[in-house]
């Protein structure tokens, strides 16, 4: 049977005889020895390289976002899967749980969408405090939850405090989205008492690097992989301890014991038969 050949364009890569291509670059000639893991990660998500000073911001994000306590929920689930002894399925489980989740890397994508919504509403007037206040107030009236704000269990997000220093050190504090984040935060703090968190800081920094909202989430996920790997590797090595909790650690709050309709019918039938035999 003659079928038309199925084809699909790709910009990602090609396997050659003596040299490979990756997003338009010769792997051995142009990338090896010239590009870092961060640079390759950026290239994978954006499809283009970023200059080293921009990659340094990405490295700052990866470092300051490192809050890898195994009690933090996405990391805990990684640890639980790792309890069966394999590291990579555990790391993959952590990664699978993050896209579109309420916490974790995808919060940066949602925060980026929020920032873009404010940007669109403010237009060229983001440096007018009264107008910013009016726009943010209107947004808050329509949104009970605002992505990028809220710092559970503490007064402020210590990661953002550290990252802010990095941004200042790299002279990026006056860039558009970082300034917008600050302007919006001021009003949200005042009206809601909610502090900005690392999600909106990542969003602002990556939007200033030219990423789209979807790219923000993908890159943020990549920058958090080390934390999943840490829990996966250590959890797999520790093995069985978490596989099954002793009954005392679990409280059942579900349905009380009951008989199924078919079991009851069967019991009635048996009782009837017994009565007939008697």
């Amino acid at each position: 049977m003659n079928l038309p050949e199925l084809t699909q364009p790709t910009r990602t890569a090609h396997w050659g005889w003596h040299e490979h291509r990756y997003f338009g670059h010769r792997v051995f000639q142009q990338l090896t020895g010239h590009e870092t893991l961060t640079g390759l990660t950026v290239l994978s998500v954006l499809g283009r390289r970023l200059p080293s000073d921009a990659c340094a911001v990405v490295d700052d994000i990866a470092c300051t976002v490192t809050m890898a306590d195994p009690r933090i929920w996405p990391l805990k689930l990684t640890r639980l899967v790792a309890a069966y002894g394999s590291a990579l399925p555990a790391a993959a489980a952590g990664l699978v749980s993050t896209e579109d989740a309420r916490i974790g890397a995808w919060a940066a994508t949602r925060s980026a969408e929020t920032l873009l919504a404010f940007d669109a509403a403010l237009g060229a007037r983001s440096d007018e405090p009264e107008f910013v206040r009016t726009v943010v107030k209107a947004y808050l009236a329509e949104h009970r939850f605002v992505w990028g704000f809220g710092t559970p269990f503490r007064d402020r997000d210590e990661r953002l405090v550290a990252f802010r220093k990095c941004i200042q050190h790299r002279r990026r504090a006056s860039l558009h989205y970082w300034s917008l984040m600050n302007a919006v935060s001021e009003v949200v703090i005042d009206l809601r008492g909610a502090q900005p968190n690392m999600g909106i800081a990542i969003a602002a920094a990556l939007l200033d690097l030219g990423l789209t909202t979807h790219q923000v989430g993908c890159l943020a996920s990549a920058l958090m992989q080390h934390m999943f790997l840490a829990q996966a590797v250590e959890g797999a090595a520790q093995g069985a301890a978490l596989r099954e909790l002793a009954p005392g650690y679990v409280e059942f709050v579900g349905h009380a014991p009951r008989s199924s309709p078919r079991a009851e019918k069967s019991a009635e039938k048996a009782a009837l038969l017994d009565a007939q035999h008697e």
Partner: protein, 233 residues
């Protein structure tokens, strides 16, 4: 490092329960599911599709619903390697992935497959809730094969006693199965997505296990042929 330096938000401040909460399956030697004794009751009187229904819906199905849900699961189950979900599992097998890794690939792919099916049919559920207009054209059967499949579904449902009036709208096979599940009580998206994913999962696993690990030479590596381009898309 001294202890005070290791203080943090989870050491001081927030209060958390000390025990995990079980809501569906009782922990321990003799498991109950939503209150029913699995080993002493359900295993004697029900089939696995009933247990799946109970797990997802919280109650055992009535007799007609039980039979119709079993039919739905059977119709949902076959997913050939032409579909990306099963195809991915087969490629996992080719890579020589261990069974657990392979099952993980199959489960993720089946979940994504179910998710995208429901995304594509969101408007169908709006229609099912309202039923004030004719079925949108893109949910209707596309060809004779589609119509024949829905006819077979109707025939299979006859003995169950469950009638699906919406099938008179001549839906596609996928739409008909979603109409059936909706009629059986799957109105919430997540249990519905779970039922579809779980019914389909064995296909991916079985097709993958039938492949030989590292059988790369017999895999059509150029299906599709990826055309590498360096120009911006």
């Amino acid at each position: 490092m001294s202890r005070p330096e290791l203080d943090g938000p989870l050491e001081n401040g927030a209060e958390f329960p000390s025990r995990l909460t079980a809501r569906i399956v009782t922990p321990g030697e003799r498991p109950l599911v939503h209150g029913y004794d699995v080993e002493g009751d359900l295993a004697r009187h029900y089939q696995s599709s009933d247990l799946l229904f109970l797990m997802l819906m919280g109650e055992l199905p009535s007799e007609p619903v039980s039979r119709a849900f079993a039919v739905a699961c059977l119709f949902l189950a076959p997913v050939s390697v032409a579909h990306a979900s099963t195809h991915a599992a087969v490629v996992g097998r080719l890579c020589g992935a261990p069974a657990s890794g392979l099952f993980g690939v199959a489960a993720i792919a089946a979940a994504e497959h179910a998710h995208s099916l429901l995304d594509e049919h969101q408007q169908l559920f709006d229609w099912l809730h309202a039923r004030q207009s004719p079925l949108p054209e893109h949910f209707r059967a596309r060809d004779a094969a589609d119509l024949a499949a829905v006819e077979r579904l109707e025939q299979a449902l006859v003995p169950t006693g469950v009638a699906i009036p919406a099938l008179a709208e001549r839906p596609s096979r996928d739409a008909a199965l979603l109409m059936l599940l909706f009629e059986l009580g799957f109105e919430r998206r997540e249990p519905l997505e779970a039922a579809i994913m779980l019914a389909r999962l064995p296909s991916g696993i079985a097709e993958a296990l039938a492949e030989r690990p590292t059988n790369f030479g017999n895999y059509p590596i150029n299906l599709p042929r990826f055309e590498y381009t360096e120009s911006a898309q």
